[in-house]
Subunit: 201 residues, 2 copies
């Protein structure tokens, strides 16, 4: 039987936290440049040994998942700055635009994550951003600006999948990155328009 885990001193715990933060930062940066970035490369960029890295993230999949979670968390915090007041359709346009900038920066990291995580897990990691979109979509549905014949969660899923589709299309060379924000916004606003209503020009 293994003995009791030795209590870590506050100094060792602070070291571990510093290492984890450095590893995650290095992983987000490396995977945002190259979806195939190796664990060794990330350990080196973080200034830690491979053994230390594996002590925190037992395999590359865990590291990729933690890097995506970290990027989403940072992005979610950055989106606090988006003004969601006033006209709901315009507010959604601003949120789509700012969210897309973040997804676009992380296209390569997203590709790495798609290689190791099922789509459901990737969507679950977006719980924070999803909740924010959900609140705005609900408001638009209550105001009658967005359609009510489709469920809130469906509309949120449509926005999520249209943005990720844009990332895939750019990666495949079928979409000009400069057009993506306008294409996504136009598509989402049209998809949310109530039956009988006019699609925004």
């Amino acid at each position: 039987m293994p003995g009791p885990t030795p209590a870590k001193s506050p100094v060792r715990r602070a070291d571990a936290q510093r290492n984890i933060a450095a590893i995650l930062e290095a992983a987000v940066n490396a995977l945002s440049r190259n979806p195939d970035a190796s664990v060794s490369e990330i350990a080196k960029a973080a200034g830690v040994g491979r053994v230390t890295l594996y002590g925190h993230f037992p395999n590359r999949d865990d590291l990729v998942e933690a890097a995506l979670a970290s990027a989403i968390e940072q992005g979610h915090a950055a989106l606090d700055a988006v003004d969601l007041t006033g006209d709901t359709r315009q507010a959604l346009g601003r949120l789509v635009h700012s969210s897309w900038q973040l997804v676009n920066q992380s296209r390569s990291l997203l590709l790495a994550a798609q290689g190791v995580l099922p789509p459901g897990r990737i969507r679950d990691l977006h719980a924070g951003p999803v909740a924010r979109v959900e609140g705005l979509v609900k408001r638009g549905q209550e105001e009658g600006v967005f359609r009510r014949d489709l469920s809130t969660s469906w509309l949120v899923g449509v926005m999520h999948s249209v943005m990720h589709n844009a990332a895939d299309e750019i990666n495949a060379g079928r979409l000009d990155p400069d057009q993506a924000a306008a294409f996504i916004t136009a598509t989402v606003l049209a998809a949310f328009t109530p039956p009988g209503g006019r699609v925004p020009s």
Copy 2:
């Protein structure tokens, strides 16, 4: 050095083709019931040994990819029966509806494929169905029924991702399978409506 590959007799070649067909049919059936179906299970259902199976598909990922390709090819052939003449919007409605029945039947197989193939590869395997949708979308754009401010390939990608989103949402328990076809059709037709035009009721 290995000797020259022995020329296969017509009989042995016919055997191999029969085995491959049986393996693919068993793989499509097994993975459509359980995304985690094992290679042994599939070999057993196909009535071949594991060694024979591995001779044709060196690893499980190859087998999953070939099973998805086979299901898409069969589905693509089945969609020949869909009437694409007449009113373009109604024709697209019929195509979306029939395509969704096929995607829905293969939700579990799609989930298996998403676990081993990047989204770009999955979309590439849909080249046949994609070309069919593309022809119809182009016609609608030329007629002014579908929007022209977004590219044909973007609109096709939107339909693809909205359908796959529905599969993911059902798998996650957030969407009632009975509602999916109506939700997808309503979303796609709204997304394709030209700016200033009315969303179909």
